[in-house]
Amino acid sequence: MIVDHIGYAVRDIDRARTEFEGLGYTFEESVFDVDRNVCIQFGNNGEYRVELISVMDREKEAPVVDVLKKNGPTPYHICYRSSDLATDIEKLKKKNWIVMIPRARALAFDRSGGGSVVFLYHRYVGMIELVEMGSLGDMD
């Protein structure tokens, strides 16, 4: 699978963006995903792409809350592109991957034509995200 981006958990997305801009990244507009309780901003640097993720409301649940508590600002997942999310999820589940966050529409991909994502976890790999671009239906 091709890597789409690396996800970074950050406490302050504006200050983090400024530092990443100093490293050569150019950022797209931020997206507020109320359902997932996160603010997201994609940055591009040549062929590399990062996703900055901060929490909108720290009192509410979001996986990134636990990541920030434990590690502070840190890269915490790699997102891979899938051409068939349902099939890839089933393949990975047979290899002991666990669905952490079920398939859902990802607002952050709406500007790229829409997409759905799923987060999976493996004992020996950790967390990954899969994205299927252009896919909004057939949620599991």
């Binding site: 996986p63 636990d66 990541v67 508590k69 434990k70 666990i98 669905v99 952490m100 079920p102 004992r123």
Partner: protein, 79 residues
Amino acid sequence: MTREEVYAKLLPVFKDIFDDRRIKIDDSTVSTDIVGWDRLMHIQLIAAIQDEFAIRFAVEDAANMKNVGELVDLIMKQC
């Protein structure tokens, strides 16, 4: 597997995941009894248990178990 056999195999998994050799578990143990047992650690624990026991939990079961006793019940259903 008997309940005792499940616990004999389960305890080392808890010790490994929470990196605590002194950890103790029984049917009434809940997440607040163990330091660091948050949502991320729960996923790590479930992944390790699936691997050790060669079983698979339903997503809802993995998310909704209330204590270690329920976890052991779920393991015993598949072993």
